[in-house]
């Protein structure tokens, strides 16, 4: 008996999942430290606590499937196979970052790994991901688009418009709501009149599923079902992952709107500790091997910080470069994951 009947993982695959979960956690904790000490300017929206959603949702995806990310997006990028070095460099505003330092924490993309972009407007990415699904359908590429958004986004008009359109046109889209219970400080029950966001799926004529967002393989299982449905041309799905962000909304959040007891209760359900324990229980790794994974993740983050800190800031000319694309580049191959960093 493996970790999950629905998602059978080899020992190597399980170690890879644990590495990704741990990499995201370690990366985010380090970023918060670097923001606090002023090494990174601006703000950050830590993904700590929600790692199982990004990693679980990306597990059933093909390399050329797309994900659409959010303001809390570092985890999505790492889970889809993004480069921690370029991600960290972008947070530092360096020329080697994903957007050459012009995007920052909420605005980066990696088309080579199928990451369409993170987005600083709540609900802003939902139509764009929907359009990528339309494109996949029209190009008959077989690609599926996973569109991440939080509980705060579901009361934007774009949520309603996009889910309706996707269902109407049977688009290959999987809408993954990360319900972490708070839109900044506003509890979801003060923003939504119904308890389960997944129930809204019925209004659009698509399946709606709730899942434990602290269980990486449970997330992977429901997303896989939705991805298979989408790839078969049977249309979109809405998945609600019940999850929790362990830290504040952003760097300056003192979390006055929730209790330390509530936080402690959710910490008991830590998705990484659970997955790690489960791996031990099923004999997929020894304690020493698990510790090595944690060390590998820490080393990757160390290397990313070194890369970012030793990279140059954008040079002269960067400010005004890239407001427009060159007028008439031939770009028929756009839409496939493409190689190469930004010019």
């Amino acid at each position: 008996m493996g970790l999950s009947a629905a998602i059978p993982l080899s020992a190597a695959e399980a170690r890879r999942v644990l590495f990704q979960l741990t990499l995201i956690r370690t990366f985010e904790e380090r970023v918060l430290k670097l923001v606090s000490d002023g090494s990174i300017r601006g703000t950050t929206h830590p993904y700590v606590g929600q790692e199982a959603v990004a990693v679980g949702a990306c597990l059933p995806l093909r390399a050329d499937d797309w994900v659409m990310s959010t303001h809390r997006g570092h985890g999505h990028l790492l889970a889809k196979g993004g480069d921690a070095n370029r991600l960290m460099a972008e947070l530092f505003g360096k020329a080697t970052g994903y957007g050459g330092g012009k995007g920052g924490t909420q605005h980066m993309a990696d088309y080579a790994v199928g990451h369409l972009g993170s987005n600083g407007i709540t609900g802003g990415g939902i139509p764009i991901g929907t359009g990528a699904a339309l494109s996949a359908q029209m190009r008959r590429s077989g690609q599926v688009v996973v569109i991440f958004f939080g509980d705060g986004a579901v009361n934007q008009g774009t949520f309603h418009e996009s889910l309706n359109l996707a269902a109407l046109w049977r688009l290959p889209a999987v809408y993954v709501c990360e319900n972490n219970l708070y839109a900044m400080s506003t509890p979801v029950h003060e923003a939504c009149a119904i308890e389960h966001i997944a129930d809204r799926a019925a209004a659009y004529g698509m399946p709606g599923t709730r899942v434990d967002g602290m269980d990486v393989l449970a997330v992977a299982a429901v997303v896989r079902t939705a991805v298979e449905r989408a790839r078969a041309g049977r249309g979109p799905s809405l998945i609600e992952c019940k999850t929790y962000r362990f830290l504040g909304h952003s760097k300056s959040d003192q979390r006055v709107y929730r209790s330390r007891e509530e936080e402690a209760a959710w910490r008991e359900r830590d998705p990484i500790a659970r997955f790690r324990a489960s791996m031990m229980e099923h004999g997929l790794a020894s304690a020493a091997e698990l510790d090595a994974i944690a060390r590998d993740a820490a080393a990757a983050v160390d290397a990313a910080v070194d890369f970012a800190q030793s990279s140059p800031f954008p040079g002269p000319g960067a400010l005004t470069e890239g407001v427009f694309s060159l007028p008439c580049e031939d770009s028929r191959e756009r839409g496939r994951a493409r190689e190469g960093p930004d010019a």
Partner: protein
């Protein structure tokens, strides 16, 4: 050379683009059998089918957002927003997303998106169906704005817009759709961002775009009868703006009247006036004048609407005043 209406010229641009490039497709409300609110897409559904002529629900934010997502991933969508006023509903998608992705995400992200928007008043449609909102987009780096005045330019500029790898807003004045003009078989101009001198003159420069190019030309005829020789510049695109052609003309005439249908404050004319004041102040023999809509919501009443919108006489009076 054939004579076409403005709407036919736009339709030719759409048809030829769709024939040439399978990634071009249309999205919008009632653009199928109905042919769009102003008939530009009539017949295209039968020709290209529902996959490429996509009638949408009334969801402007998602129409533009989905088109942006499709554009990022290999398609070339052309969106029709039924009335330019409804761009307000899609403004976040245009201004925060489509316009910024190339800059924020780097060259991997390109947004070859066209948004066509029937604009302007003169038909007593009232305040939410008559606006000229193009000036807003001068304030959003990353969006090009074309505003063709003739059928020939309508075809050429829309063709260029569809081939462009940036978001392009196509301003289509409702009063132009039925106008006719000769359309060359080889499109001209060959780039977005080139103004045209529609009438050469020495005394005063009239800068206009879209429907008001024709009004400015009529005003120039009236001025000629008084012995005032006006030069008329058709901007053709507002972003990029062909400042060099404007400056060259003002250096010659020493007088400038900016004509637009949008409201006066913060308008296109204000931007032109500022550029001329910065770059050619020493050539000016008279103050710069702006002819624009009054700073009011466009009123419905047939008695009031013409008072709100610029008229040919307003241009004539302003130019005459400068030349005294």
């Amino acid at each position: 050379m054939r004579e076409l209406t403005y709407w036919q010229a736009l339709q030719e641009a759409l048809r030829e683009a769709m024939q040439r490039d399978p990634s071009v497709f249309l999205m919008g409300e009632d653009i199928g059998e109905y042919g769009g609110a102003f008939g530009v897409t009539r017949g295209l559904l039968a020709e290209f089918g529902p996959e490429r002529v996509r009638c949408t629900p009334i969801s402007e934010a998602t129409i533009v957002g989905a088109a942006t997502g499709a554009a990022l991933t290999g398609m070339r969508p052309v969106v029709e927003i039924m009335f330019m006023d409804f761009l307000t509903l899609a403004m976040d998608q245009l201004a925060n997303h489509a316009a910024k992705f190339r800059y924020m995400y780097g060259s991997q992200a390109q947004v070859p998106l066209v948004v066509r928007a029937p604009a302007g008043g003169g038909r007593c449609y009232g305040a939410t169906h008559s606006q000229s909102l193009e000036a807003w987009f001068l304030h959003v780096p990353g969006v090009k704005v074309i505003a063709p005045a003739t059928p020939a330019d309508a075809k050429a500029l829309l063709t260029l817009a569809i081939r462009d790898n940036n978001p392009v807003l196509c301003v289509e004045h409702k009063l132009l759709y039925a106008t006719t003009g000769m359309v060359p078989d080889t499109p001209e101009p060959t780039a977005i961002g080139c103004a045209a001198v529609r009438r050469a003159g020495h005394d005063v420069t009239l800068v206009a775009y879209s429907y008001y190019v024709g009004v400015a030309l009529q005003a120039a005829d009236a001025l000629a009868a008084e012995g005032i020789d006006a030069e008329v510049i058709d901007l053709r695109s507002l972003v990029p703006m062909d400042t060099a052609t404007i400056l060259g003309s003002v250096r010659k005439t020493g007088r400038l009247v900016c004509v637009e249908e949008g409201t006066r404050s913060g308008g296109v004319g204000a931007e032109i006036a500022a550029r001329v004041a910065e770059e050619a102040y020493e050539y000016l023999d008279a103050p710069i004048r702006r002819i624009a809509a009054a700073d009011v919501p466009i009123p419905f009443s047939p008695a009031l609407e013409p008072q709100a919108l610029p008229q040919q006489d307003d241009i004539v009076r302003a130019a005459r005043g400068l030349c005294r």
